[in-house]
Symmetry: C2
Subunit: 427 residues, 2 copies
Amino acid sequence: MRRGAAFAARPTPWPARYWNARSTSAPRSHRFNCAVPACCSQASGRLRREAPMHDGLLRIGSAAVPYRYGADCTDGLAEGIEALGLGSAIVVIDEAVQSHAEPLLSRLGQRMQVRPIVIAGAEQHKRLSLVEEVLDRAVAEGADRTSAILAMGGGLVGNVAGLAASLLFRGVRLVHLPTTPVAAFDAVLSLKQGVNLRSGKNLCGAYTAPAMIGCDLTWLTTIPRRGLLTGIAEMAKNVLAVVPGRERDFEEALANLPDRPVAAFTTLFELGFDSKAPMLRTDPNEKKAALVFEYGHTVGHALESVAAGAMSHGEAVAWGMLTAAEASAQLGHLGDADLKRHYRLLSHLELPAPRIALERFDLESLATRLRSDNKRGHIPCPPESAPMVLLRRLGEPVADGDGMPLIPVSIGTALDAFEKVTATEEL
Amino acid sequence: MRRGAAFAARPTPWPARYWNARSTSAPRSHRFNCAVPACCSQASGRLRREAPMHDGLLRIGSAAVPYRYGADCTDGLAEGIEALGLGSAIVVIDEAVQSHAEPLLSRLGQRMQVRPIVIAGAEQHKRLSLVEEVLDRAVAEGADRTSAILAMGGGLVGNVAGLAASLLFRGVRLVHLPTTPVAAFDAVLSLKQGVNLRSGKNLCGAYTAPAMIGCDLTWLTTIPRRGLLTGIAEMAKNVLAVVPGRERDFEEALANLPDRPVAAFTTLFELGFDSKAPMLRTDPNEKKAALVFEYGHTVGHALESVAAGAMSHGEAVAWGMLTAAEASAQLGHLGDADLKRHYRLLSHLELPAPRIALERFDLESLATRLRSDNKRGHIPCPPESAPMVLLRRLGEPVADGDGMPLIPVSIGTALDAFEKVTATEEL
């Protein structure tokens, strides 16, 4: 049963009285009880020095979204949320990050009604049926038009809760509290909310500006290294397609990851923010210049779809970027030095050997996926081709006459480029 | 199975070749084959004289929505839709109005790809699951970002297809083709799209401006008289709460309905348009002054919910308006003459005798529904009260300091007023 699968059956691990400021038994103060060992005890002073609070306004079109990123910053996040003047907070939490939620939510619970909804964050649950369950639970928990939905988890929770906030009473406020690198540095810096249809990924959604984005970077330190790949791949994409001058920052962050993770995450956040913010200001719905962030995502989505769960988004996008670079070179846009820099930069991702990872893919299955790529409607695209972001130089996409960074590439060219990546000795 | 219940199983009754301009067998011309006997043969000249095409732009906030209302106006509607430059038209059609669709869709099919999706329009299907089915069918029929969803049917089809258009690829264009009076004169003149949750009516939705609204008023002439009640009740609401000077137009339209239905519908359309347009311009999301259109809908929704399908929306709203008028009088806002005018105007609706219709309602069940009325979040509202639109005069709601036309009314007062309506001898 979907409901059973998507909703964590286990009871909330915190005393219920923590969640409700209106309950007479709610404590006026609480013992800080952070689940991240490196965070609030011996290391907190060091982390604070490493990563001062980044806060400000992210402008996405006409929306100004307050953001707060820091380490050991429960109070700062809570104050930001309290300043929204919410009637109540419905908190959609990935079951994997419940321990991170406790300090923040018990702090919030002193001032407002806080209601957690714990969900399991698997891609196959990212459907309208899960959104509907969240909506029904929110109403049952007393949500009204003055409530906000807080999304605490990775990209999936952000998307599901984001769409739920867009739809509940035709829109209540949304607060993103990302707990994975890809969510924190990439996915939440966007108006795009969405879920999958049976017929394809992210085909159903809405554009909604969050009322706030907040992240305690110590939440990210508990992600296993393999789980970091997607966030790192998206930041590599930003370096290659948008801000090549930040290559050293990127490499420095990767080097810092094992021993100084908060410093590394701070650098990666700055990289993500600085790449996306200027584009989002003028292209809030990411339908024109900001389509450059789709670099690597045409072949990437096709690989992910054919692999049906056996390849992470980050790995698929990495192969997709190499394929796009090979296609750019093959079509005479990209020089050999910039192509080689792709391989060098992406070697940091510790991808599996290309032959082992890619030879198993049936080219006809990939071609089928490429023919129905969901970026087709953005530009006129002949049937035997797929819309791809190509580069003429690092940081400089090939644009059509209207400045659209999407080019129809014949399926044959795309598959030739993919075979070059499969056969490469560069990684 | 929901899918079986909501989707009409019967095959589309028109030759498939009519639907696809790209098919080589698509005819370049077609014989006009209107299903409304009074429309295109002997009477069409008269109808055309009775009802010249109304077209223009409806301004809803910053959106300018082209509308076209006329009789026997297939060509005019088709030209309006063609001018949108659609990649394809996905037409969501209520199975009850398929015969009305044929002339328009076969005309459109000469110029663009037209794909019908026939659904059954029952209230219990108005859920996200039906929206998801429409979305999956649309993608399977080749919809892309250049497509539009056309909604042809009553309020339910408009709502389901409207929300589907809001969500597909995060928003494709929406064309409303209303075929019932309440849809044509009321529901489609709005940005509000929405479906029901298990926990309540219309709790899940979006604000989306249609790309066009088009209506051939002859479509409305096939609705049985009882089916007209909801549209007429909403127009009576407009007279009572917004434009009392139009009372004679309203009564004249009702008198014309049996013999000159198109003339009657034209008057009712003008009444609906003139009531809503000025409010929508300044309050596009209907969260402030336009909440006056909720007149009668607090007790109305409670009755409808308790009756669970046994009372039409129009009848429920009529009783709701009488209750709101009695409460307004009881609280010293509304004078006796204006209260009496409510009974006089609503007597035209041929409602059943109040005792027979209303005595069967359990007051405690009504109270429960009133306590969770979905307008609560618009204003602060104490627990034992419900937000209602009250009148101080016809056309003049009682407003709070911020100009909000909603007042918290104690459940006791609301139920007292309801009992007065139940016991009335005025109808």
